[in-house]
């Protein structure tokens, strides 16, 4: 589905300032249905700011977000859940707030999707970090969004939990949902991101596939390009003064 003409989400010249500091400097990109887009970059690059603007929780100082076919689902970095409520109560609350016509049916759907039907009565605080993140994502999906925004979804998860999380996210993308995620883990971005958006100091430095990034590095620092993807990425940034 990647490359479909109609974009699920378009960001046009997004600008965000915090006082004198420009956190985003006119970022442009488009994401298509079923696409997995990884937003990567060093600390302070503007990844979370970009996702917050796309989610509508932070107003931009310039530019606009265009969503031609529906809304986005927002999954913040830290699980945004009521830890004293059960899995089911959390899902039901947000299904009601999303004004789903049949909130209980939506809860059942999400319990199936997350594979947490057996844990529906458990208080969220008792779930593992991975399971909390799955509920966190499921809540983001309750609005049936055309695009799902994940802010560093795998932080704090062990390798097994990560693998299960990405299996879950890939299945969502396979179902036609556009997934835009930010991450610090470059290997993870290479493995799961069909496209990479590289940000540094609020600027968009690259927009393309992992293979295209490696190709770009090969022309600048060939020895780094033949190394692992993280080394190639660091060389890419250094070559551009970051």
């Amino acid at each position: 589905m990647v490359g479909t003409a109609v974009a699920a989400l378009e960001a046009r010249k997004l600008v965000k300032r915090y006082g004198q500091r420009e956190a985003l400097k006119g970022v442009d990109f488009a994401a298509h249905p079923g696409e997995l887009l990884a937003v990567i970059g060093p600390n302070g690059a503007g990844k979370t700011t970009l996702l917050s603007i796309l989610a509508g929780t932070l107003p931009p100082d310039g530019g606009e977000v265009h969503l031609p076919n529906g809304d986005v689902g927002w999954v913040p970095q830290q699980a945004a859940l009521y830890r004293r409520l059960t899995v089911e109560e959390n899902l039901l609350l947000f299904a009601r707030l999303e004004k789903r016509e049949e909130p209980r049916a939506a809860v059942e759907e999400m319990l199936d999707l997350t594979g947490l039907r057996e844990r529906r009565g458990d208080v969220v605080a008792r779930l593992s970090g991975g399971n909390q993140q799955r509920i966190n994502i499921a809540i983001g999906l309750l609005a049936r969004p055309v695009a799902l925004l994940l802010d560093e979804p795998s932080v704090g998860l062990d390798p097994r939990q990560r693998a299960r999380l990405w299996e879950f996210v890939s299945a969502l993308a396979g179902g036609g949902t556009t997934v835009i995620f930010s991450t610090h883990d470059i290997q993870e971005a290479e493995r799961y991101g069909q496209r990479l958006l590289v940000l540094a100091d609020g600027e968009s430095l690259f927009d393309g596939s992992p293979g295209e990034l490696r190709t770009a590095v090969r022309g600048e620092t060939p020895e780094a390009a033949s190394s692992d993807f993280e080394t190639a990425f660091v060389a890419f940034l250094q070559h551009r003064g970051h």
Partner: protein, 449 residues
């Protein structure tokens, strides 16, 4: 908003300690206030030794006054522990079994009687105290001073009444007994009448002398008539004519209940709203909620509504507990509701502003206590207790926080004879608007930091 409210109530139910505190707090306050205002202040235990011989009486004007029942009167005021000797009295004081010992010496009545002779002696009672700490010393001094003040007043009244009776006898005439024999007193009034009647029968040269005697008896009669009420006044030289420049204040019991109810409402509402709002940030749900699900104003209104609802239930629970000890005027229940709802709204709005400003549950709990406790105490400072400038400062400070108007509203609702409820309600309405605006502004930076 109802789903958010349901969610907060579910969270409250999931916090057994918090829920238990919400129930236990008003019950405890109700018990404390109920016991405090339904029981007597408690009589101090005093060792009592009466050494006065049986039959000894205070004499006035040559006659003995009726027995005054000293033991009975004193033991009405204090819990008497009767002792047999001064040594036993001293031991009981030393051991702390009694607050003090009061000894009426054997010569007390003789000394009292000597006051009307040419060689008066000072009547004294013996008091043994153990002033082991300043507070206790103050209590003992106050109790003994009050006791002796009452005794002195009683004796003065008896003497004044007896003296007045004798004066009336001299003026109007009558009879009294001396050694069991009735003695007839002619009286000044009758004497003057007799002398007037005799005057025409006297030779003219004696009439001028008789006229002088007649004038003397007439003047004496008139002036001694005036003296009688003066002697009566000796028993109570200064009367009290109490006037108040303020609106009628509620009875102490009602005021204590109003204070307890307002404190309950303050802590429950303020802490719940502030904590609940701060929890939205701690749980990281604030951006998710306000990212399109609900507006910030709706979230703020939901928290205020939660505080009002829970504050109302808990405060009514406390009042129901107080009802077990003290009768409350339930016919004013409608006004109670209005006062509690308005007070709760003011406090909830303040809690929302506090929660939005502090943003952390622990910090907000600490801040709520640090602000509400001193403000509540300052709200109870009466005028005149501190300097005028300081009191003006306190008035301004307490007017900025909803505790005082909430207390005034609840006092007015509980007390049928108290001042009106309109002023405090208007004050609370202004504070609700102001704190809601502050809370709404503070929420702008709630998610950003």
């Amino acid at each position: 908003m109802r789903w958010l409210l349901l969610k907060d109530l579910q969270i409250l139910r999931r916090s057994p300690l918090q829920a238990a505190l919400l129930i236990a707090y008003p019950v405890l306050i109700a018990l404390l206030i109920g016991f405090a205002i339904s029981r007597d202040p408690g009589k101090p235990q005093v060792a009592f030794l009466n050494e006065i011989p049986p039959g000894a009486r205070i004499a006035a004007g040559g006659a003995k006054l009726p027995a005054v029942g000293v033991d009975e009167r004193i033991c009405k005021r204090v819990e008497c522990v009767h002792v047999a000797s001064r040594a036993e009295a001293g031991e009981k004081v030393r051991s702390g079994e009694v607050l003090a010992a009061l000894i009426l010496p054997a010569d007390l009545i003789d000394r009292l009687n000597s006051l009307s002779t040419l060689s008066p002696e000072t009547p004294e009672v013996k008091v043994i105290v153990n002033e082991e700490d300043p507070l206790k010393a103050r209590i003992v001094d106050d109790r003994i001073a009050a006791l002796l003040g009452q005794a002195n007043l009683f004796i003065a009244r008896q003497i004044a009444a007896e003296a007045g009776r004798y004066l009336r006898l001299i003026v109007k005439g009558g009879s009294f007994e001396v050694l069991g024999e009735p003695v007839e007193i002619l009286g000044l009034r009758t004497s003057a009448s007799i002398l007037q009647a005799l005057r025409p029968a006297l030779p003219p040269e004696l009439r001028s002398s008789l006229d002088r005697v007649i004038r003397f008896t007439t003047l004496s009669r008139d002036n001694l008539d005036v003296a009688t009420p003066l002697i009566d006044r000796l028993a109570q030289p200064v009367a009290i004519d109490k006037q108040s420049v303020s609106a009628p204040t509620p009875p102490l019991g009602v005021f204590a209940i109003a204070v307890a109810a307002t404190l309950t409402l303050t802590f429950v509402t303020l802490l719940l709203v502030a904590g609940s709002l701060a929890l939205e940030r701690e749980e990281n749900t604030f951006p998710r909620l306000t990212g399109g699900l609900v507006s910030r104003s709706t979230l703020l209104a939901e928290k205020v509504g939660l505080g009002i609802a829970v504050g109302l239930v808990v405060t009514l629970l406390m009042l129901a507990g107080v009802q077990l000890f003290v009768g409350l005027d339930w016919s004013r229940f409608g006004l109670w509701l209005v006062a509690i709802l308005a007070g709760g709204a003011g406090l909830a709005a303040a809690g929302a502003a506090l929660g939005a400003a502090a943003r952390d549950v622990r910090a907000v709990s600490l801040l709520a206590f640090m602000i509400s406790l001193p403000v509540a105490l300052l709200s109870l400072v009466p005028s005149g207790a501190v300097g005028a400038t300081l009191y003006d400062g306190i008035r301004v400070l307490t007017a900025l926080f909803p505790f005082k108007p909430a207390l005034e509203a609840i006092s007015a609702a509980l007390d049928p004879a108290g001042p009106g409820i309109g002023g405090p309600l208007l004050h609370l309405a202004i504070l609700v608007a102001a704190y809601a605006a502050i809370g709404r502004l503070a929420l702008r930076r709630f998610a950003s930091v």
